[in-house]
């Protein structure tokens, strides 16, 4: 059963004028009637949807007055219209629930009337096919908007409404002139009719007419630079009203533009696209500088509309699928309305005043982050699928260069949205007085839209093969449940996560998922293993605020598992982005994680977009799988490789792009950092190896005389050296390890860049080994931090006496890290150096060896400052780290030792893997002796035995020759006869490497940080300059359309 | 450096004479004794010492406190504090002496003018028992750790008695005065005559 769509216009209009009567009965009655009306409109749209979707219903074509098309007012109701009307109704419903609790008794009728009027206008705009009628509905909607805005409670509302009306009037004049002339040219007002009757493009005057129409619409759509009044509106009007407008009028006007664009000859396409893209990038750029979240949302709306305007001609040409643009529009409507409602729920005006917003409400925080994720186009939300569709269509349609501004604009969205969320996540301090507004009764719309965005996004994934994978679905499901139940005790959460991971591990093990001879199998084992160790350690349940990440953690693991096993570029990217945002959320949940989290997200976002760019190039060349990348040739191959590698390096924090890493690593929850460093930083390495290097190296041209892979190795070497040196001067234990982690990733990059079986073996060996020992170090330090409550190393000391297991963990960790025999660090380094020597990259070899020596300083300083030296009196009574942590540490020690004694356990499968990858063996392994292909041997087991025998022998010798020995007290040191000062003063730990710092001083300027700071500052300067166009003066706002006409005329008429 | 009434001190042929003249002009007629060409002794009353020192420190080239010590005038019932202030550029020193009441034994600290005075004052406090209110390390042991007797540099402190009481002597030597001991052992004619 379907309901006549004409009622969409008739019923709200009718009820609108009756509403003041109902309001006499009381506010409940008025609200109820209004609500019922909106529900009815929604039902009308819904009743058509199934039929329209499966094609069993033909679109309705309504002719009023009983005349035929050219004469009668023609309403059309197809799938697009149904969806738009549904969205409009839903937004209106949400806004009603939001606004009704805020309206006074005596304004409720008036406000309801205007709301219904706006809806009527919007429905009309959506459905009408008559040009003049369109103008009429536009006016109805506009009048409603002016009035509703001007009635707002804020002082600025009236001014905002007036300015809006001013520019609206200009727009109306342009439109009316355009319509009149068009009528003269074609003799009809019906759009469908008109399309057939359009005169040839060369007709005199047609261009002027089109110009008028487009100008009018541009002003109505608030494109750059005529969007000033609209922005004032966002700042001045009630957020609920703005949400209503976003869902109704804005979409309506956009659809009206769609219809008008049907009339515009193809020569104007570039002009429209340029205007749209300029709006998208420009508005996003301006939004970055905004300090007031609501105004920022306004810019964001402007930008999104600009993007859709950009797409209109492309969709009409058939270059871009309608679905892509539609998904973007739905995504924008859902997310932006939600954000607007939420922005009204907190009294903060500036971002700073949003500090700690919604701290008390899980629902609002969750909804906020869902909307932000959705609007920044991350999977699984509809915006992601829309963007992917649009981008791939652009690439396929030969509009590839347009993807560049699109990606840049999207990155800017990351900057300001996560910048805003950073303040929300920062714990509130007492001097921030802003507080939440209102109760939870008006949250219906927010919750519904958040769920809708999530469910719709997931529903869009229904056909992807990922949904069939038991492990992924299981882990994601458990993860979602745990995320929702995050108020449970930590131990329960951790136990559930451990059990889920254990089950997943079992399923994968029985399914042969851990086949170490394939990269995916190896990484499966790493991901699940590291996940299990972290969850076990999580059973300790620390006192940190950010330790409830288990739900997100499971989702992340699912995404990682997908990432390393898929061959599909889309799925790879989906998994990549899910990993990005889940890890972002976990990092942000650390105590001080908000700020580094933002940096992390922006850099990850940039990395993601670089990958997206690379993938898009491949898709543009017709390859949608990772295997397909191997078929790329020529400059496409080089560009794709460059983009992918840059993206991966960005995510792995290579030198120059590393500034996010120390903050993110050190501020992430202590238990999560091992995973971040051990696994997540390795995923880009997997990417470089298994995705970027699918593009055969032979296809990579040399830039000048420089081999691209050599360049990659150089970056790896600089990463290893630069960050190792930086680690030497850290005072914060976690920061030290963070720099060290990133530096170690440099070794892997070098190993991969060598592109020989031996180099890759070294890299993969280091991947596994680094996970083990760095996880061990981070976990042990996490235990220490848990017990001492500080991360600054010189505030500790002498903990060996209190925390022996942690000490042994760190000891094993640093011996493994340093590459000193007999642990496997040496084996890994040996493999790498042999590979480098065989390749002949001597200076990179020197760089790597040198950085491994420099690493000694920070390693010693870590263990000395924390565990050796004088025990502080306040630490006399602390205990060993909690048992679960100790268990995890012991397991990792076992792993490290196993690799040290029997490296062939790992090297055998790696050999097989290399055989598959290269068709060559990396090593010959006879028993315990490793032999490279060039005939160099290493006997790791023998080395271990040798050291052990000598060690035991000397141990016995010392026992034998030692006179009776007494353990003396701590401060009994030969201190020139003086009584030693307190332990704090004689623990030499602060600025440990000071002479070294002096020696290196000229090289130690924070160049990367300064570079990025200057980038930020320069961008800020540009934005400030551009922002001057928004003078806030009504006269200049009227002037801009006129100026825009000139520009537009040049662009459009120039052809 | 530059005194508005008198011109630059560096130009005067005899800096000692000149500085004493200026002090007399400014603070009053203190008795002065020209001990050497580059050393002048001035006896300053207690109430004037701080103004004189401040003036010297801030407005003349006499910027260095070379020494600060005390003398116990037991018979007069007074302590004497001696400030040796030097003009390092001119190589001339002023020896400012202040008499204090021995019963009260308190003087104003000058560590605000010269930080190093802190140590001198600590030492005088320990050795003479003169108190400098406000000086940072008063009462903190400097050389005498755990000293419980009268400050040892006061002249009424009987060193020999204290010494006999505290530090035992090696048995077998009857008299501690070496002059007497040697005289007895080797005869009066030995080393004495």
């Amino acid at each position: 059963m379907v309901i006549d769509p004409i009622l969409l216009v008739a019923v709200p209009l009718g009820v609108a004028f009756l509403l003041p009567l109902f309001s006499k009965l009381g506010r409940t009655a008025a609200t109820a009637v209004q609500g019922l009306t909106i529900v009815f409109t929604a039902l009308v749209a819904v009743s058509w949807l199934p039929g329209l979707l499966d094609g069993s219903l033909a679109p309705a074509n309504i002719l009023t007055g009983g005349y035929d098309a050219p004469i009668a007012i023609n309403l059309h109701f197809g799938l697009t219209e149904a969806v738009l009307c549904l969205l409009a109704s839903l937004t209106a419903l949400g806004s009603l629930s939001y606004l009704s609790v805020r309206e006074d008794e005596h304004t409720i009728g008036r406000s309801g009337l205007l709301q219904l009027l706006i809806m009527t206008g919007a429905f009309g705009l959506i459905m009408t096919r008559d040009l003049f009628n369109l103008f009429v509905f536009l006016e109805i909607a506009s009048i409603g908007t002016y009035a509703l805005v001007a009635f707002g409670k804020e002082e600025t509302s009236l001014e905002a409404g007036f300015k809006y009306m001013l520019t609206g009037a200009v727009a109306s004049i342009f439109l009316l002139i355009g319509i009149a002339f068009l009528y003269k040219l074609t003799g009809t007002l019906n759009i469908d009719d008109m399309v057939g009757r359009m005169p040839p493009a060369a007709t005199a005057g047609l261009a002027t007419v089109i110009l008028f129409l487009l100008m009018g619409m541009a002003i109505e759509l608030k494109l750059l630079p005529v969007n000033g009044p609209a922005l004032d509106l966002y700042d001045g009007a009630d957020p609920g009203v703005m949400a209503l407008l976003v869902g109704t009028v804005v979409n309506g006007v956009l659809f009206a533009f769609w219809k008008i664009a049907l009339l515009v000859p193809g020569t104007w396409d570039t002009a429209i696209m340029t205007l749209g893209m300029v709006t998208f990038v420009g508005s996003n750029l301006l939004a970055v500088a905004q300090d007031r979240p609501r105004r920022m949302l306004g810019y964001s709306s402007s930008a999104q509309i600009g993007l859709l305007v950009f797409l209109v001609p492309l969709v009409q040409q058939g270059t871009v699928a309608l679905a892509g643009a539609g998904l973007l529009l739905i995504n924008h409507t859902l997310a932006k309305s939600g954000l607007l409602w939420l922005s009204g729920k907190h009294a903060g005006e500036t971002r700073r005043e949003w500090t700690g917003a919604f701290a008390g409400s899980v629902v609002m925080r969750t909804a906020l982050i869902i909307f932000i994720l959705a609007i920044t186009g991350l999977p699984p939300f509809p915006g992601f699928w829309g963007k992917w569709q649009v981008l791939s269509d652009l690439m396929a349609g030969g509009y590839g260069w347009w993807a560049l501004p699109l990606l840049i604009g999207s990155l800017l969205e990351f900057v300001y949205y996560y910048g805003w969320y950073r303040y929300v996540r920062t714990p509130a301090t007492s001097n921030v007085s802003a507080r939440p507004l209102g109760g939870a009764s008006d949250l219906g719309g927010v919750v519904a839209f958040a769920l809708a965005a999530l469910v719709f996004g997931v529903w869009l994934m229904r056909d992807l093969p990922v949904m069939g994978d038991r492990v992924l679905v299981f882990l994601t499901g458990v993860g979602l449940v745990l995320t929702l139940l995050r108020r449970l005790p930590r131990v329960v959460l951790a136990a559930t996560a451990t059990a889920a991971l254990g089950l997943a591990a079992w399923i994968m093990a029985t399914g042969g998922g851990f086949d170490l001879t394939t990269p995916s199998g190896l990484f499966h084992l790493l991901i699940i293993g590291a996940g299990l160790l972290v969850s076990i350690a999580g059973l300790a349940g620390s006192s940190g605020t950010g330790e409830r990440f288990h739900g997100l953690f499971l989702i992340m693991i699912a995404s990682l598992l997908l990432l390393v096993s898929t061959d599909n570029l889309l799925l790879f990217f989906v998994a990549w982005e899910v990993m990005t945002w889940t890890s972002y959320l976990v990092v942000t949940s650390g105590r001080l994680g908000a700020k580094p989290g933002q940096l992390y997200m922006v850099f990850s976002g940039a990395a993601g977009f670089l990958l997206l760019g690379g993938f898009m190039l491949a898709i543009g060349a017709g390859h949608t799988t990772i295997t397909g990348l191997g078929l790329l040739t020529g400059s496409t191959a080089a560009w794709t490789w460059g983009l992918l590698v840059t993206g991966f390096l960005g995510k792995s924090a290579a030198w120059g792009l590393h500034i996010w890493a120390p903050g993110a690593y050190s501020e992430a929850p202590d238990l999560f950092t091992p995973f971040l460093s051990g696994v997540i930083s390795k995923i880009p390495m997997f990417g470089i190896a298994m995705v970027a290097f699918r593009i055969a190296a032979g296809n990579l041209p040399a830039i000048g005389a420089v081999d691209l892979t050599w360049l990659l190795a150089l970056i790896g070497g600089l990463t290893a050296f630069g960050l190792t040196l930086a680690a030497v001067f850290q005072e914060d234990a976690k920061k030290l390890l963070a720099y060290s982690s990133v530096g170690q990733v440099g070794y892997i990059v070098v190993g991969l860049a060598i592109l020989t079986p031996l180099g890759w073996t070294a890299a993969m060996f280091h991947v596994v080994h680094h996970l083990l020992f760095k996880g061990l170090l981070f976990l042990a330090i996490a235990g220490v931090i848990m017990r001492t409550g500080t991360r600054t190393m010189y505030e500790m000391g002498g903990l060996i006496k209190r925390m022996p297991v942690s000490f042994i963990s760190v000891l094993i960790g640093i011996i493994a890290l340093s590459g000193v025999p007999p642990l496997a660090g040496f084996t890994g380094k040996w493999l790498l150096y042999q590979a480098l020597l065989a390749k002949g990259w001597l200076f990179i070899l020197v760089l790597m060896m040198f950085s491994s020596v420099v690493a000694f300083i920070y390693m010693f300083r870590l263990i000395h400052s924390v565990f050796l030296g004088q025990l502080k009196p306040r630490h006399r009574d602390i205990k060993e780290a909690p048992l679960p942590l100790v268990i995890s540490e012991v397991l990792m020690i076992a792993g490290v030792m196993a690799l040290a004694v029997f490296p062939q356990l790992l090297l055998n499968p790696l050999n097989a893997m290399m055989h598959t990858q290269f068709g060559l063996d990396a090593l010959r392994i006879d028993g315990t002796v490793l032999t490279t292909m060039s005939g160099h041997t290493l006997n790791a087991t023998g080395m271990m035995v040798l050291v052990l025998v000598m060690f035991v022998a000397m141990f016995l010798v010392l026992l034998l020759v030692s006179p009776p020995m007494r353990k003396i007290r701590q401060l009994d040191i030969g201190f020139a006869g003086e009584v030693p000062p307190p332990a704090e003063e004689i623990h030499f730990a602060s600025r440990f490497a000071q002479p070294y710092e002096r020696a290196w001083a000229p090289f130690l300027k924070p160049r990367a940080t300064n570079f990025w700071r200057s980038v930020t500052e320069n961008t800020g300067g540009v934005i400030e300059a551009v922002r001057k166009i928004y003078s806030g003066n009504g006269q200049t706002y009227v002037l801009y359309p006129v100026l825009l006409v000139v520009v537009f005329a040049l662009l459009g008429l120039g052809r | 450096m530059f005194d508005i009434n008198h011109g630059n001190l560096d130009d005067s042929p005899d800096v000692g004479q000149e500085i004493v003249r200026r002090i007399h002009d400014r603070f009053g007629d203190f008795p002065a004794r020209f001990q050497k060409a580059d050393l002048v002794r001035l006896d300053v009353p207690q109430k004037d010492i701080i103004p004189v020192l401040s003036w010297l420190r801030t407005e003349t080239p006499f910027v260095q406190l070379t020494h600060l010590t005390a003398v116990d005038w037991l018979e007069d019932g007074q302590f004497e504090l001696m400030y040796l202030v030097t003009a390092p550029d001119l190589m001339v020193s002023l020896h400012l002496c202040v008499r204090l009441d021995r019963a009260k034994a308190e003087a104003e600290s000058v560590f605000n003018l010269w930080l190093q005075a802190e140590t001198y004052e600590q030492e005088i406090n320990e050795m003479f028992g003169i108190h400098f209110p406000g000086s940072p390390r008063q009462g903190v042991p400097f050389i005498l750790e755990g000293w419980r007797d009268m400050p040892p540099m006061r002249r009424d402190f009987d060193t020999v008695a204290y010494c006999d009481r505290t530090h035992p002597v090696r048995p077998g030597r009857e008299h501690q005065d070496s002059r007497v001991y040697v005289g007895r052992k080797f005869g009066e004619k030995g080393y004495l005559k």
Binding site: I800, K801, L811, I815, S818, V820, P821, F826, W830, L837, G840, L842, V846, M849, F850, V853, F856, I857, M859, F860, H864, L868, G869, Q870, S934, G935, H936, T937, L938, N939, G942, M943, L946, V947, M950, F951, M954, F955, V957, L958, V961, S962, P963, P964, R966, K967, I968, L971, D972, I973, G974, I986, H987, F988, F992, P995, Y996, R998, A999, W1000 | -
Partner: protein, 304 residues
């Protein structure tokens, strides 16, 4: 060779080496004394010191790491020695050099330093970490020219195998790397000054500021173990330099002479120079020696 005879020969060779180290140590003291116009202690004074250290009557322990430090030290020193082939073509004196190559030796040198530093740190005396900080800083610095030199040699033969490097130097004295690659040799021998820690690079145990550096809290049997480790390490290092730059040795006598010559290079330099500050030392190594090293690597590449 069978395992057990090999162990026996290695032990014997190690014993001789340690004794040789002791004697060189005594000789150094004697020579230094003569340079300063003194008599100096007898040649066997290190043995007497060793004996005295072993017959002390009591000893202290600050913690288990403190106790283990000297063990690490001695194992590190002995490990380096047993990994280098002393005499060409004499498997009985090659120790376990078949177990690894130059890389293994280079990293094994850190084993003792790291363990010793840990033990010293556990003692809780502030001078220990200060000494370690200086030592590590200087170590990273002199490793730069040394690594460059080693890479230059290794690249020349395309292998880190020390026997391969020796093999290229068997065509007369002029084929020694000392003359074949003078730049790399210059870098390495300058680095050796830092390794041996005689003046001007004796900043770790700088007698005036941080009396004996890391070993401040060590005594008696600990010291004796450290003496053993030090002389094994010294001889091991000298043998390595001999193999790398002086064409190895064909007989024990040649080895003895060459080792002595290499060792006394740093002793003589140490006799006439005052001490650097840490940052001066670091900068020194990162300037000319590094430049020589780079030249050495470039020379190798050019020759290839």
């Amino acid at each position: 060779m069978e395992l057990f005879p090999k162990i026996g020969w290695t032990l014997l060779s190690l014993f001789v080496a340690i004794n040789y180290g002791f004697l060189i140590n005594g000789l150094i003291r004697k020579v230094m004394a003569r340079i300063q116009g003194r008599f100096g202690p007898p040649l066997w004074q290190p043995y007497i010191d060793m004996g005295k250290l072993l017959v002390q009557r009591n000893s202290i322990m600050h913690g288990y790491m403190h106790w283990l430090g000297p063990i690490f030290r001695s194992v590190g020193g002995m490990g380096v020695y047993v990994l280098v082939p002393v005499v060409i073509g004499e498997p009985r004196l090659a120790g376990f050099s078949d177990m690894g190559d130059l890389l293994l030796m280079m990293y094994f040198m850190f084993f003792g330093s790291l363990g010793m530093a840990l033990g010293a740190g556990d003692a809780g005396h502030p001078h220990s970490p200060i000494g370690v900080s200086r030592g590590l800083s200087q170590m990273t610095a002199f490793e730069m020219p040394f690594i460059l030199a080693v890479v230059a040699l290794a690249a020349h033969v395309g292998s880190f195998d020390i026997n391969a490097i020796i093999a290229t130097q068997q065509h007369g004295v002029l084929s020694w790397n000392l003359f074949a690659n003078p730049f790399a040799s210059a870098a390495a021998f300058l680095a050796l000054l830092g390794m041996n820690m005689y003046a001007p690079f004796n900043i770790v145990g700088a007698p005036t500021e941080i009396p004996v550096g890391p070993a401040t809290e060590y005594q008696n049997s600990y010291l004796s173990l450290m003496m053993i480790g030090r002389s094994a390490l010294a001889i091991g290092k000298m043998v390595m330099f001999m193999d790398l730059f002086l064409g190895g040795a064909h007989s024990i006598g040649a080895a003895v002479v060459k080792i002595l010559a290499i060792y006394f290079w740093s002793v003589f330099v140490g006799a006439v120079f005052p001490r650097f500050r840490t940052e001066q030392s670091v900068r020194f190594f990162l300037r000319w020696p590094t430049a020589f090293g780079v030249a050495g690597v470039l020379l190798t590449q050019w020759v290839r």
